[in-house]
């Protein structure tokens, strides 16, 4: 177990270093932040002064070395637009993002698992086929379209729900639904497919021969068995989930790190962007670590190998 954790810690460092380096070079080919900071009225001299104060006049290697030191000390410098240290701003927004992600993820699973099982059991009926087509539809609509559509219907037209922010308890509803839609649809199909596959397994036949009823076979045995492949897919999907969260936060002006990062991209606010991407990378690696540890718990065949 310690060896697993140790190799995972090393992996975490490498992934974060890799992603941060990639980001460092990507933003620097995307344009000059001094122009964005200075605004349209600035003179060439003003811009030059800003470049100097931000350290942007130094060579790319000097800048990268400075960046590595910032990375090691977790201090990415002051945000160009907020003029405050960027890392605390990100950490302040993190709980809001985690809350949205958790609610959306839980919602997706709470719907996908029963819907997938239903679609598998009723796969030859109209009701099962309907769920399958709904899930295909849900997977093919981009989340921000769902978000904008919901704002039009529930905020503008019906005026039931707030269209932005997180001040009210009901504020979470629309962003969570919009964010969960793709995951919900995808996992409904996956649960259905895995469930159908498992229904033909030998242990299901054994259960029938022992006179177990369908409910016991489905919810005790099959569900337990599909949790193994489902878990590894959830690990993969949670990474993509973060990308979705950034866009949904922007659509609903949800004050999380996604909104901060979208603004940071627009303003070429390097320190903010670096702190944000660093935080997201750490979250993704941690989630995958948790999933891997859970995997050994869920699949007894893996547990035996580790012990």
């Amino acid at each position: 177990m310690l060896r697993v954790l140790g190799s995972r810690a090393l992996q975490l460092i490498l992934v974060v270093l890799g992603i941060s380096t990639l980001l460092f070079f990507l933003v620097r080919v995307s344009g000059d932040p001094a122009l964005a900071v200075a605004g349209s009225e600035a003179t060439t001299e003003d811009i030059e002064i800003i470049r100097e104060s931000l350290g942007l006049n130094r060579s790319i290697f000097e800048q990268y070395f400075a960046f590595l030191i910032k990375l090691a000390t977790l201090n990415f410098g002051d945000s160009y637009i907020y003029l405050q240290p960027s890392m605390p701003l990100i950490l302040e927004a993190l709980p809001s993002t985690l809350y949205l992600s958790f609610v959306a993820f839980a919602l997706a699973m709470l719907v996908a698992i029963p819907a997938g099982i239903f679609a598998a059991v009723k796969r030859r009926n109209a009701s099962g086929r309907f769920i399958l087509s709904m899930s295909m539809l849900g997977q093919s609509i981009p989340p921000f379209i769902i978000g904008i559509f919901m704002i039009l219907v529930f905020s503008v037209w019906l005026q039931w729900l707030p269209s932005f922010g997180n001040e009210q308890p009901t504020s979470i509803i629309m962003p969570a639904i919009a964010l969960s839609a793709v995951l919900m649809a995808r996992h409904t199909r996956l649960v259905r497919a895995y469930f159908i596959e498992e229904m033909n397994r030998g242990y299901v036949r054994t259960g029938k021969s022992l006179g177990f009823n369908n409910r016991r076979i489905r919810f005790k045995h099959i569900l337990r068995n599909i949790s193994v492949p489902m878990l590894s897919l959830i690990g993969i999907d949670l990474g993509k989930f973060v990308g979705g969260a950034v866009i949904i936060e922007a659509v609903f002006a949800w004050p999380g790190i996604g909104s901060l990062m979208v603004n940071a991209v627009k303003a070429r606010d390097y320190p903010m962007l670096e702190a944000g991407v660093f935080t997201v990378a750490v979250m993704v690696v941690l989630v995958n670590l948790i999933v891997d540890l859970l995997y050994q718990f869920v699949d007894p065949r893996l547990r035996a190998k580790v012990n």
Partner: protein, 332 residues
């Protein structure tokens, strides 16, 4: 007719059984007018190549055929007709009175649960036992199928057991509720040769202890010879010969049975005595030949074999030794 008087020596008896599968490309008949029965303490072996319909006829009894199967004829269990009985009482009857063992014990056990828990679940569901009670019962059952160190094994998962031990676990599950009938569907096919014998001995011992009827399906003549009281030979969905093990194996009458037996290697046979093979392949359900289904592969086939299905008729020596052939070899 008085059922109790008539059927006391028969656990299950199938009569004129037809099984047809409804498939996308039309109905396929897997079993044609098949009859057999088995008595308490008796081992009845159904022998045949794959696709001959061995499994289909027994799983018509166990209830494990897919829902596309249409079963007609009669299946009497302890004298009561079960074909067409309501699903719920059938499920109960099969759970309590019919135990089933399958070919591959690894896939037949749930990989996610300890074997002890899988056995205990049977007692919890059908005997209403508490978890602890059921667990203890499971451990003693593992002991009775001769698994050494049963407490430790009960706590292990299927993948941690050897193939032979897994099959013993399967047997333990099948006999947990003390069934009257044990169906063993190729129980030794997936096992090492050395383990096969031990598993067959265990089945025999349990049969004698509990006076169970055993129906065993195999394509292995050696297995049949080792355990069978009576044997039925199946070909293309029909029984072509049946009798006591002695009769069928020592003096086979049907050309197919004869060919099957002579394709077995014998210890002490001279090198010049090459193994004979049966030419051709067994027919698929969709293309069963007319008349006697074996005629395209039969060395004794005559014109009549191509058109008329031969009837099962007793041999001159014994009324219980029955076979179906238009042109049997001399002495039949």
């Amino acid at each position: 007719m008085n059922l109790a008087e008539q059927k006391v020596d028969t656990v299950v008896s199938i009569k004129n059984l037809d099984v047809v599968f409804n498939t996308a490309s039309g109905p396929l008949q897997a079993i044609h007018t098949t009859n057999w029965s088995v008595a308490p303490g008796e081992t009845f072996v159904i022998l045949g190549e794959s696709g001959a319909g061995k499994s289909v006829s027994v799983h018509a009894v166990s209830g494990l055929l897919p829902s596309t199967a249409r079963i007609t004829g009669s299946i009497e269990f302890e004298g009561n007709e079960i074909l067409g009985a309501d699903q719920e009482s059938l499920r109960k009857l099969r759970a309590e009175k019919i135990g089933v063992i399958f070919q591959d014990p690894l896939t037949s056990l749930d990989p996610c649960f300890k074997v002890g828990a899988q056995i205990a679940e049977i007692f919890q569901v059908h005997r209403g036992m508490s978890k602890d009670e059921a667990w203890n019962q499971a451990v003693s059952l593992l002991d009775s199928v001769q698994i050494p160190d049963p407490e430790r094994r009960a706590n292990q998962f299927p993948h941690q057991l050897s193939g032979g031990q897994r099959q013993r676990v399967m047997i333990a599950m099948a006999i947990a509720l003390e069934p009257k009938l044990l169906i063993a569907d190729e129980p030794t096919t997936a096992l090492d040769a050395s383990v096969q014998v031990a598993v067959l001995e265990l089945i025999q011992r349990l049969r004698d202890q509990r006076d169970m009827a055993v129906v065993l399906i195999t394509h292995n003549i050696g297995v049949a010879a080792a355990i069978a009281d009576r044997i039925a030979i199946m070909y293309a969905g029909r029984i072509v010969e049946t009798g006591t093990a002695q009769e069928v194996l020592r003096s086979p009458k049907h050309p197919y049975t004869q060919a099957l037996l002579s394709s077995m290697p014998r210890i002490g046979a001279s090198k010049a005595e090459l193994l004979t093979t049966i030419s051709g392949t067994p027919p698929s359900l969709a293309t069963i030949p007319s008349g006697c289904a074996f005629h395209p592969r039969c060395t004794r086939a005559i014109e009549k074999c191509k058109t008329d299905v031969p009837r099962l008729e007793p041999t001159k020596q014994s009324v219980n030794h029955i076979f179906s052939c238009h042109n049997p070899a001399e002495g039949a």
